[in-house]
Every structure is written in structure tokens, then in C-alpha cells.
């Protein structure tokens, strides 16, 4: 396997700390940059993300042109908090209302392409406890400074919060190491150079993001990498070390569900690419068991293979962005 890519396209956030340079590059290229935060009950972390990024990358250094929050139906104070800080808040269901409605992170990311105006779109998860504006500028940096780079992915140490005021230094990225990395090793060894393919923080050029389909759920990061790799090659991708990202710990069962969705997306993709022929339809339910008193009870979690087509194929989008 050629591992040149890892050396050439792996950066550290400190390489992009000259924010005046990034702003200048952005002005030279006459482009706009949008930040999209997909949310679902993020009242504990959303305000901090908004405030820090707005203050540092809109007010202090005009690198970003807009921040939009796209919500999947939060029942906590997420909406109230976002509005209190004068940020555009969208209920995902209200975007492209004529289309059938789905719930999921991928759905929000796909719809964000319709409502944002940026030529570069940055996606950040909204549950980052140690948010810092490097999470944005470091992802945008390679896209502004290297012409061939169209998509940039984050990687980091992943200490997890394990209780009141306590942290465990490692332990994140379990789905990456147990699911995605073995699959990449089996089918696309080159892609194993991407340290954290499932990280929820990435930036991409619109021309690229509008041309790929988006699974509506957890599989979106996996499909994105596979589609970009197949269409534009690995040299269109870069990765940036953000050093540390603190997030909520998820239990094994939640990670199981996530893995199920990712496996499904992966299998669908490689089947479409003609790499694997699965002779039998796979099922859409993840089955987990809970012990209640002395009996095991199944817990069924349904995940459909729903996927949005490239948004460039949607008439409303073509009209809005004047695409003939």
C-alpha cells in the first residue's frame, strides 16, 4: 500500500493558526464559508460552540460568513439558546418541505446545502465539550491553501467525560477501530490512512458535496469518504490533527446501533461499486437484548437504507443556485 498520502496530506492545526492569512486567501478567492451545526437536544454544549466560533471567526477574524443550526426536533432548550445568540435556526422538516421528511444527522447535513450560501461548508458535531475555534479554521485551512484539496477531515485524541468532573484520557473512537478500520483494511487499504474516518468534523467544497448522495443517518461519514475517494481520489482529501476533542461517552449498546448503520451503508456502497455481491437482502433491524428480572427482552432498532440523492439533482436546489 502506498502511504505517501498520510505524509503529504496530514496536517496539525497549528499550521493554520495564521488567521489573517486564511482570511486573505478567502478574500482573494472571493468565496464564502458556512458553518453548519446539526443538533438534537444539545442544550449543554451548543451555546459555547456558537459563542466561541461567532466571536473568533466572524467578529474577530471574518473567516466565516454564516453559522446555521439544523435541528432534528430537539425537545430541550436548544432552539431557545440558539436564537438567544442570534444564530439562524432551522427545523430540518421546514427545509425543502415538499420532500418526504426523514430524521437523521445525514438528512440535516444534506439539507444544509440548500440553506447555506457558502462555497465551503464546515460541519461540526454540536456535542464538543472543549470547543475551540481551531475546530473550524484548521478544517478550512487546507481547502484554502491547497488547490487540489476539496475535503478535509478532523482527527484527535478522544478523552471521554466519565462522570462529574472526571476524564479518561483515551477510549473514544471504538467504532472506528472495531468496525470501519477492519472494513477499510479488507476493501480499501489506502483509506486506512485516514486516522478517524468517522469524526463528525469536516469541511468540503460545495461542488463536491452537492454531487454525492447522503445517507440520512449515521452512515453519512462513511459514504462520504467512499464517494469522494471513488470520484475525486485520495488527493482531494486532507486530514487535520485537532489534538483533543472531549465528548459525551456513549454506552456499548448505542455504539452497536451506530455500527449497524455504518455496516449497512458500507455494504450498500461496495455492492453498488461492484466489489461485493451480496446474494441475500440484509435486514433493517438491529436486535439487542436487555435483562429484565430473569428474562431477556429484545430491543429492536430499525434502520432503513434511506439515502438522499446528490442535492444537485433536486429542482429546488438547482433553481436556488441558478444551475442550468
Amino acid at each position: 500500500m502506498n502511504s505517501e498520502w498520510l505524509k503529504k496530506y496530514t496536517f496539525h492545526y497549528s499550521e493554520f493558526m495564521d488567521l489573517n492569512l486564511l482570511v486573505e486567501k478567502k478574500r482573494d478567492r472571493k468565496i464564502k464559508i458556512s458553518l453548519c451545526l446539526p443538533t438534537l437536544n444539545e442544550e449543554k454544549t451548543i451555546a459555547k460552540e456558537i459563542i466561541i466560533i461567532k466571536s473568533e471567526l466572524i467578529t474577530r477574524y471574518p473567516l466565516l460568513d454564516e453559522i446555521v443550526v439544523i435541528d432534528s426536533g430537539s425537545t430541550d432548550n436548544t432552539k431557545k439558546i440558539v436564537r438567544a445568540y442570534d444564530i439562524e435556526f432551522y427545523d430540518a422538516d421546514d427545509i425543502l418541505p415538499n420532500l418526504e421528511k426523514f430524521k437523521g444527522k445525514g438528512e440535516n447535513l444534506w439539507k444544509s446545502l440548500y440553506i447555506t450560501k457558502g462555497d465551503i461548508i464546515v460541519y461540526l458535531d454540536a456535542d464538543i465539550k472543549n470547543i475551540h475555534h481551531r475546530f473550524v479554521y484548521a478544517l478550512v485551512g487546507p481547502l484554502l491553501l491547497y488547490d487540489n484539496v476539496k475535503y478535509c477531515k478532523a482527527f484527535y485524541d478522544r478523552p471521554i467525560a466519565i462522570g462529574k468532573g472526571r476524564m479518561r484520557p483515551t477510549g473514544g473512537g471504538r467504532v472506528t477501530e472495531l468496525v470501519i478500520r477492519p472494513l477499510f483494511s479488507l476493501f480499501f487499504p489506502e483509506l486506512t490512512q485516514i486516522i478517524q474516518p468517522l469524526s463528525g468534523e469536516y469541511a468540503g467544497c460545495r461542488e463536491l458535496l452537492e454531487s454525492i448522495p447522503f445517507p440520512i443517518g449515521y452512515g453519512v461519514e462513511t459514504s462520504m469518504i467512499l464517494d469522494i475517494y471513488k470520484e475525486w481520489g485520495l488527493d482531494a482529501i486532507a486530514q487535520v490533527d485537532l489534538e483533543k476533542r472531549v465528548h459525551r461517552n456513549q454506552d456499548t449498546k448505542a455504539l452497536g446501533k451506530m455500527s449497524f448503520a455504518i455496516l449497512k451503508t458500507f455494504l450498500n456502497r461496495i455492492e453498488k461499486l461492484g466489489i461485493l455481491d451480496i446474494k441475500k437482502d440484509t435486514f433493517n433491524e438491529m436486535i439487542q437484548y436487555y435483562l429484565v428480572k430473569d428474562e431477556y427482552h429484545p430491543d429492536l432498532y430499525k434502520i432503513d437504507d434511506l439515502e438522499r440523492p446528490p442535492i444537485i439533482e433536486i429542482p429546488e436546489y438547482r433553481k436556488k443556485f441558478n444551475i442550468k
Binding site: 459563542i51 432548550n77 431557545k80 467525560a161
Partner: protein
Amino acid sequence: MENYLEKLPSFVDEIKSIKETIITNIVLIGQIPSPTFKEKRRAQFFMERLAECQIDECTTDGYRNPIGIIRGTSGAKPPIFVVTHLDTFFTQDTDHNYVVKEDSIIGPGITDNSVGLGVLISLPEIFQKLNLRFESDIVLAGVIQSIGKGNLRGIRHLLKTWSTPIRGAVCIEGVELGRINYYSDGMIRSEVECNISTVNGCEPKFKPNAILVLNEVINRILRLRLPQRPRSRVIFGKIKGGFSHGVIAYEAKLGFEIQSDSDKMVKEIYNDIKDIIAGVSHKYEVELKLKTISSLYASKLRYNHPLVKSAGEVMKELDLKPVSEPCESELSIFLFRKIPAVTLGITRGENYHQQDNRMEIEPMFKGIAQIIGVIMAIDSGVCDEQ
């Protein structure tokens, strides 16, 4: 003076209009762990932030206190100091990630003293927003090694080595909004440590218990008759000791502070406690070590000093009710050096010194306006000719 007093209420809304900048500064600096003696990273961020604001001078003094200077218009007036401490009570490995809510910020050390620091490093941008220029240079100082065993070393060094006169000073503390401190009690902060000697082999079943020995020390100190005038007290603030529920404690430590508005009384009480400790040590045949961690002389401004009066007027203009108590902090060192100074609080909060320490966002804007009002008062000359 009256001119700017009238402006203060409108300042509140102007300051609020850059709330994202202020909150970001509070969070970014507060999330950097900074226990006493390990303030380097926080000091570095302090400098970077001031440098980003392109203030006139950004440096550290010989003791590594970070300092920013905004040059005044006069060139001849002595500088005005605005200071706050960089260190916190929380250890390096505490989770310092703050939670920002619609109306509050929660996290360790937020009120002591992330909010003070965040506001201090926001001042250049706030001055710009309010279009304020001062006659005096404004010296923004984050002082290191302030609390506990730090014994205010940072501010002591800064003022000792500052070569020119200082016009006046404002010390910033996170809470409580409405406090106005203009006098400091004399103080001795000490620790008494009890160690029961252990010998190889079997230990005697009825050897002295370090916790009970310190309990005896506490009881005897409590029996001291402390005068109401001069106002004096002994505060027991820390205690730890022992090993396991069923094992006689062979070591224990007690931390206490003697406070009085008379330095003589502080010394007398200290000597009494020293005698008590010697007596208990003799009685129980144990080793008791008394160690002084820090001390301060009593110092104060007069109640009718123009700075105190002006600060009161500023607070009145902002509908704040002044509350005055003694304060043993950076203020003591300014007053000891005969530099007029007050300590002011910025906002309200709860759960002080706990992991879920909380500060309210909304009152902070008045708190900042109040600090600017007092800086303007000093700049207008209220501390001159005293």
C-alpha cells in the same frame, strides 16, 4: 465626573452588544487549568489575547506576571492599574470544560476568577467599543501566585519593581456584584501539622490519635477570648488527616487564618496559638509543627476617601447597592504601598469553589460598566492630591 456618571447606564447596553467576545474570553481563559505556581499557559493566553487587540505594549515583568499597557493621552499622568489574579484553587487534572447556558456559565473556578480574567482581557475591546481614551496609561495585569501558598507574590513583585508612581488601582474579583472593598485586615495564615511517630514492629494500641490532638488544639483556640474591638477572629478553613476508619490517625493537618484590623492583635493571637500548640504537644507527647504560609498587614482607605466615594456614586448610578467588607487580596498590597485602590465584583454566582460553580451572565454587564466608571473616576483625578 458627573459627565461620565450619566453615560454609565448606556454603557451597559453597549458592553452587552459584544457579549460573545466577553463570554468567549471568559471561557477560553477559564478552561486553561491554572493552579497556583502553574499559571504559565494562562499567562501565555492572556498575552496572546492582548497582543491580538494590538494594545500598545504587551510584556511580562521579571516575575512573569503578564501585563498589557494602553497608552494614555497625557504622557505625564501616572498609570492606573487594573489587576486580577491568574491562579485558581483547582488542580491541573480537574475537568475545566465549561458549560455555557442561556443565562449562565458553569464550571470550576468560573467565579474565582475566570470571569475576572475574561473581563480584564476584554477591556481593550470594550474601551474601543465605548470609544474611550484615558489620560493615564492603563496597565492591565494578570498576577500569578496570588492565592493560598502563593501569598500574593505576583502582585508584591509587580508593585515592588514598578519604578514610577501609580495613580490608583481597581482589583477585579468575579463575585459578588456590589462588593466594594477598600480595607484589608491584618492576617496570618498558618498550618499546624500533627505527626504521631511510628516505630517498627507492633504499635501500641492506645497511642495518641492525630485527629484528636488537633481537635484539642481547635477546642483550646475556641476558648480564647477574642476582642470585638479591635475586630478579630480565627477561621478554621481546612482540615485533613487519617488513613482508614478503623486505624488511629497518625497524621493530620489543620489550616487556619487569624484576621484582625489590628496588626498587633493578629500577632498576639498568633503567639497565643503558638503557646496552645506547644502545650498540647507537651501534654500528648506528639510532634506538632506550626507553619506560617502567608501574612498581611492591615491597611485601608478612609471611608470618605474620594475613590471610595466615587466608586459608591458609580454604583448608585447603576442601581447597585454597595456592600463593604475587609478583603485580603491584591488590594492589601496596593493599600500597604499607599496606592489608592478598591476591589470590585463583576457578577453574581453560586456554588463557589465547587466543580459546578455558576456565574450569571446578565449582571456582568453592569459589573463591567461599574469598573469602567471607577477607572474613569481615577482618570478624572479623584486619587490625585491625597
